[in-house]
């Protein structure tokens, strides 16, 4: 048994299209012989579930892609035909190469190019052999990933320790090791103009370390110096090697660089579909909202019926 469902395709192109989904399980409720619900009600109640129905998601996607258009109607604006004289003057400069001719004749739109790229990426992932470089998170080398992860883990550990009792010997040992490694190689990049970070870059080179120890000697010694509560836990600057690795990463693909869903989950706001004020009541037929009875009546008379 097969059923055609309009799926919202959030992946590559923000535009709805048809796709076929194989429905293997036999579901008596959907069998035409003994429907439990009337067909009409099934359609009308499509959006009442807790989750947004695919139809509604499609309506939103269609709306968004409509807002992304250049002109309201699809019109072709041809390039004005050149006068023969001007064209002749152009011809003297250089001959067009085959590459240029191919590019100029290509009528591909951005969407075509995007589909091509997606297809190439999924092909590469499917074949598996070369897929690792392109697909996995922008394709950085495994070593770099591990290194960055280690740094962020260490920093996260110190950050999380801020609330509980800090483990002083462990972190200092780590710092010592790091300091030795860094002084052997090039100094870590310091970041001027940022008070938060300036404190953490003292491990860079031996001179700085010497100055630091001198400064420490000048300071008054109190019994609070070793107080774990007064320690500062600024995250250490990443070493030059890690930064170089980060800089050398290849760019993400177009779709991978799109912003994700919001971190802080705010309640969705609803607006009146007629006047733009808060949408307090929901139409019983469609699921658009209106602010009051005035707007609702206008809505009912004119625009209601474009259900989703």
């Amino acid at each position: 048994m097969f059923r055609v469902e309009l799926l919202a395709d959030k992946g590559s192109v923000p535009q709805p299209g048809w796709s076929y989904v194989a429905d293997r399980a036999f579901n008596p409720a959907q069998a035409a012989i003994a429907p439990t619900l009337s067909r009409k009600r099934g359609i009308r109640d499509a959006g009442t579930g807790g989750d947004m129905s695919s139809r509604r998601t499609n309506a939103i996607l269609r709306h968004i892609s409509e807002l992304d258009r250049e002109n309201h109607r699809d019109v072709a604006v041809p390039i004005p035909v050149k006068q023969a004289k001007e064209a002749g003057a152009r011809g003297t400069r250089a001959k067009t190469t085959s590459n240029v001719r191919r590019i100029l004749q290509s009528q591909k739109t951005f969407r075509n190019h995007l589909d091509d790229e997606e297809a190439a990426l999924s092909n590469a992932a499917a074949s598996g052999a070369t897929g690792t470089t392109v697909q996995s998170g922008g394709g950085m080398s495994a070593a770099a990933t591990a290194a960055v992860a280690r740094v962020s883990k260490a920093a996260a550990a110190t950050a999380s320790r801020r609330s509980s009792t800090p483990v002083a010997p462990l972190s200092s040992a780590k710092n010592k090791k790091r300091g030795a490694g860094a002084s052997a190689s090039t100094p870590t990049p310091s970041v001027p103009g940022t008070p938060g970070v300036a404190a953490s870059t003292t491990e860079a080179d031996p001179e700085a370390a010497e100055e630091d120890s001198e400064r420490k000697q000048k300071l008054l010694k109190t019994e609070h110096d070793d107080d774990p509560l007064l320690r500062s836990y600024a995250p250490t600057m990443p070493s030059d090697k890690i930064v170089q690795r980060l800089l050398a990463e290849p760019p993400l693909s177009y779709n991978a660089s799109r912003a994700g869903p919001p971190i802080s989950s705010r309640l969705p706001r609803h607006f009146c579909c007629m006047c733009g004020y808060w949408g307090k009541i929901r139409c019983k037929n469609c699921h658009l909202r209106t602010c009051g009875l005035d707007c609702y009546r206008v809505h009912e008379d004119s625009r209601c019926g474009a259900f989703f």
């Binding site: 968004i64 920093a155 103009g193 760019p251 799109r258």
Partner: protein
């Protein structure tokens, strides 16, 4: 092309491009090829101040326009030749921030930079001999390799520039003199022009809004994020809303863009502003001044559109006609009343969820971008957030971004959000300053000989930084 590509890659491994005879032409033309306008001009001398350098930058509409009476107008001629903007349709070669249609783009470039007749008036835009010129061309982040390759081939094979550098647009901003923008003490005034160490560029333009962390003039690719809302999206949304509530304006992109630029603002107190525009509270609407009238342009009478305070009785007076004592000018004008449309439209940049988009707003996007970077860099980037692009000019944008970014950023970070001096031409200016540092330019640019020797595949790898 297959054989030559293979040959090029083997050659590239053997020969280093930095042979001593390498010559990058002194004259540098900087082109920030935006979807809405191209910002173009020869790089200014490094001795000039930013204001003087900006004076040599010209914005040219990057579009081919067909007017109501079926005339086709290209690029720079638009501002002088079109008076009636009703029902104009646009063809833009740059789609989603990337040059897609080279047929149209070539036409616009030819008209703007190469043809003698068309460029006679502005000497600073004429590229007389591309062979003796270096081109710095910007591109949007996360471009598809095929589009990048097309751009390289067009630039080097159609026009044959002597030197060429394709740069990520937002990164160029790091080359600007930003100490005064951020209020830092000037570190080295006489030294070479060098990029800022850490800069987070928020580029909110016509096609999209991108977040790019720039480290010493180079992008941190894994942290680049994009929101598919830009100026075009906002204009289209305003168009749709106004068409539903008042007049049908769906074909009036240009006019609605003017309306948007004139009236819109980013609200810093959305709820209160919303109450101020409630239609039932007429008195309050007038007192608070959030609701305004926009008088639409009238091309027949040669009048331009303008904004004025809302007059709730105007409609009634007009109905009475001549007996109300209004002048014929006022009686004939068409007025759009704009209330919550003024701030609910740009609100999308901060709450894309308002129209059902699942993306995060700009402040959340900044945190998402930083979350994939080592935590030690967060503070440096948050303290240096630079906003460029046309949407930065919407009143209230900067305040809103800073107030929303502050609470979600870590408490011990300093958050400084600044607008570039000239947000639209800031990227161009950065390119111009990069051009004055010949050594750094030599590292990113390729020469014509190199291109001819190694081919476009090599050029793409070189700009990606892998060769």
């Amino acid at each position: 092309m297959g054989t030559s590509k293979a040959r090029a890659s083997t050659k590239a491994q053997k020969a280093t491009p930095d042979v001593p005879t390498r010559h990058i032409p002194e004259k540098t033309f900087v082109l920030d090829n935006g979807a809405y306008t191209m910002k173009a001009g020869y790089a200014a001398a490094s001795s000039l101040s930013s204001e003087d350098a900006l004076a040599t930058c010209t914005s040219i509409p990057n579009t081919i326009v067909k007017t109501r009476d079926n005339r086709t107008v290209i690029g720079a001629q638009i501002s002088t030749q079109i008076t009636d903007w009703n029902e104009t349709v646009f063809r833009r070669p740059v789609e989603k921030g990337y040059i897609v249609n080279w047929e149209a783009e070539r036409e616009i470039w030819e008209q703007s930079f190469f043809e003698e007749k068309a460029t006679a008036r502005n000497k600073n835009l004429r590229i007389a001999s591309p062979e003796d010129t270096t081109l710095i061309l910007t591109e949007a982040p996360n471009a598809m390799p095929i589009l990048q390759r097309n751009a390289d081939e067009m630039v080097m094979e159609e026009w044959g520039f002597g030197g060429y550098a394709r740069c990520l647009g937002p990164t160029l901003n790091a080359w600007n003199e930003l100490q005064s923008t951020f209020g830092d003490p000037l570190t080295s005034t006489d030294a070479d022009i060098m990029p800022m160490d850490c800069l987070l560029v928020v580029d909110s333009g016509y096609s999209h809004t991108t977040i790019t962390p720039v480290y010493k003039g180079r992008p941190l690719q894994r942290a680049i994020r994009r929101l598919d809302i830009g100026g075009k999206f906002l204009t289209n949304y305003l168009k749709e809303v106004v068409s539903m509530r008042q007049y049908n304006m769906v074909d009036e992109s240009y006019i609605m863009n003017e309306v948007k630029e004139a009236v819109s603002f980013v609200s810093n107190d959305f709820k209160t502003d919303m109450e101020h525009t409630w239609k039932a509270d007429k008195k309050r609407q007038v007192e608070e001044g959030v609701v305004v009238d926009f008088v639409l342009p009238d091309p027949n009478a040669g009048r331009k559109g303008f904004m004025r305070p809302h007059d709730p009785l105007l409609h009634a007076k007009k109905k009475k006609g001549a007996s109300s004592g209004l002048s014929s000018e006022i009686l004939s004008e068409d007025v759009l009343v704009l209330g919550n449309e003024r701030f609910a439209i740009p609100e999308l940049l901060f709450n894309p969820g308002d129209i059902g988009m699942t993306s995060a707003g700009i402040p959340d996007m900044i945190m998402q971008s930083l979350s994939v970077l080592p935590p030690a860099l967060h503070a440096a980037f948050l303290a240096n957030v630079l906003v460029v692009g046309g949407n930065a000019l919407i009143p209230g944008f900067m305040e809103r971004l800073e107030t929303e970014l502050r609470p979600i950023a870590s408490a011990d970070c300093v958050v400084r959000v600044r607008r570039a001096q000239d947000p639209i031409c800031s990227t161009w200016l950065g390119g111009s300053r990069l051009a004055s540092n010949r050594e750094e330019l030599g590292k990113v640019a390729i020469t014509r000989q190199e291109y001819q020797e190694y081919g476009s595949g090599w050029a793409g790898r070189r700009f990606a930084g892998t060769v």
